[in-house]
Amino acid sequence: MDTAFAPLPTTASASNAAASTTTGSIVCEPTPQQAYLMRIADSCLIHAQRLAEWSGHAPILEEDIALTNLALDLLGQARALLTHVGRQTGFDEDQLAFLRDERDFRNFTLVELPGRRAGRDFADAVLRNFLLSAWMNVLWGKLEQSGDAEVAAIAGKAVKESRYHVAHAADWVPRLGDGSEESARRMRQAVARLWPYTEELFETDAVDTAAAEAGLGPMRAALRVDWRAIVEPVFADAGLQVPAAGAFRSTGSRGVHSEHMGYLLAEMQTLQRSFPGGQW
C-alpha cells in the first residue's frame, strides 16, 4: 500500500491565498489591540460553542431554546468582532474561527471548561452563563465609548442583548442555589469548580494596557467593581457564598489553554478543516 498517506497539508503563511487553498492552519500575528478584540471575540465564540452543546439536552424545552438563543447572540457578536479584526489582518471571520490553532485562541479558560459532556452539571452551565454574561454586560457598556467606531457600534447592539442574558442567568442562579437541598448542593459545587477561573477576567497584561492607552477599551481590572455589583446580590439571593480569591490563575487569554480546548476545537473546526472554504 503505497498510497496510505496523503501528504501533510502545507503550513499556511499569513497570506490569504495560501490559507484558502489548504487545510492547514493560518498563522495570525495580531497587534496588541487586535489581540484585545480577539480575546473578546474568542470568549464569545467558545462560550457559544459550549452553550450549543445543550441543544436537545437541556432539562426543559424552554431552557433548551434559551441556551441556544444566547449562543446565537454570542456567535453574532464574535462574528462581528472577528470580521472587524479580519479586515485588519487579511483573514475573514471563518478563517479566524476555523483555521486557527489552539495557541492562537485567546478566550478565557472559563468558557472552554467542559459542559454537559464531561459529567458537568446544568448548575455549571447556569453559573458560567451568569458570571460571563455579567462580565460581558459590563464590558459592552464600556466599549460603547470605544475610540474605534466599529467596536462602539458592535457594543451598542451587544450591550442590549447581554441585558437579556444577565436577566435570564440571574433568574436561574437563585432558583438552583435557593431551590432544593440537591440543587443547592450542586450549585455550591459549581461555584467551587468555576470561581477560581474568574480571576483571569480581571488580570492586567500588555494587551490590556495597549488597548486602554489607545482608547480602544477598558483594562480588565477596571471591570471588577461593576461585575461584583451584579454578582454579589444574586449570590446573596441564592444563598451562595462568594469565595475568597485564591492563588490559581488560568491562562487562556494568553493562548495557554486547558486540556479541554483541543477537543472543543476539533469538533468546532472539523467541517472547515475537511472541506476548506466550504460554504452553504
Partner: protein, 178 residues
C-alpha cells in the same frame, strides 16, 4: 432641481416603494421598512445603496433579508444595487412603525412595548434589578386581554418570547422590546 436630479430622486422614491413590499423572511407579516431596518436609500453614480441596520447580532435572517432587498430592487429594474450594513445607532424595536405593530398583532404576535427609557445606560443604575427585565403588560394579540403570562423568555427566533393568554388560553409570541 435639474431634470437629472428629479430622475434620481424618483428612483429613490421608487426604491422605497419596492422595499415596502419586501417581507421579513422569519416574520412574513412585516416589511423591512415597517420593521425599521432600512435606514436610508442613497443614489450614487454607480447605482443605489440601501443602508440596513441588523436587528440582532446573530440573526440568521440578516443575509437573507439583504439578498431579498437586492433581488426585489433588481427585479423592479432599478439598476445596480448594493446593500450596506449600518451598525450604529443600534436597531431598536422603537423603530417598528405603527403599521408594522398592527401587522404583527393581526398575525398573532404581540408587538413590543417602548424600550427607549429602559434601555438608557446608567439610568437609575442603583435600582436596576437584572432579574426584573420581563415585560409586564403584554396584551393578548387575539382577544386583547391583559391577563397573560410568560411561558419562555426565548422563542423560535432571537426577537421573540413565548406567552399564554389566561383569558382565552391561546399561546402567542411576543416581539421582545430591545
Amino acid at each position: 432641481m435639474t431634470a437629472r436630479d428629479q430622475a434620481l430622486s424618483a428612483r429613490v422614491a421608487q426604491a422605497w416603494d419596492v422595499l415596502r413590499g419586501v417581507l421579513d423572511p422569519e416574520v412574513p407579516a412585516i416589511s423591512v421598512t415597517d420593521l425599521g431596518i432600512v435606514r436610508d436609500v442613497v443614489e450614487h453614480d454607480d447605482g443605489l445603496e440601501v443602508l440596513v441596520t441588523p436587528t440582532y447580532s446573530g440573526c440568521p435572517a440578516t443575509e437573507v433579508i439583504e439578498q431579498a432587498i437586492a433581488d426585489a430592487l433588481a427585479a423592479a429594474g432599478l439598476g445596480r444595487v448594493r446593500v450596506t450594513q449600518r451598525r450604529a445607532p443600534a436597531w431598536t424595536t422603537d423603530w417598528i412603525t405603527p403599521q408594522g405593530r398592527e401587522n404583527l398583532r393581526a398575525y398573532g404576535i404581540a408587538p413590543p412595548g417602548a424600550c427607549a427609557g429602559a434601555a438608557a445606560p446608567g439610568k437609575d443604575a442603583a435600582n436596576v434589578q437584572p432579574i426584573r427585565l420581563m415585560a409586564r403588560d403584554v396584551a393578548c394579540p387575539r382577544c386583547g386581554s391583559a391577563r397573560t403570562e410568560r411561558l419562555s423568555a426565548f422563542g423560535s427566533t432571537a426577537c421573540k418570547s413565548l406567552y399564554r393568554c389566561i383569558e382565552c388560553r391561546e399561546p402567542f409570541e411576543h416581539f421582545k422590546p430591545i
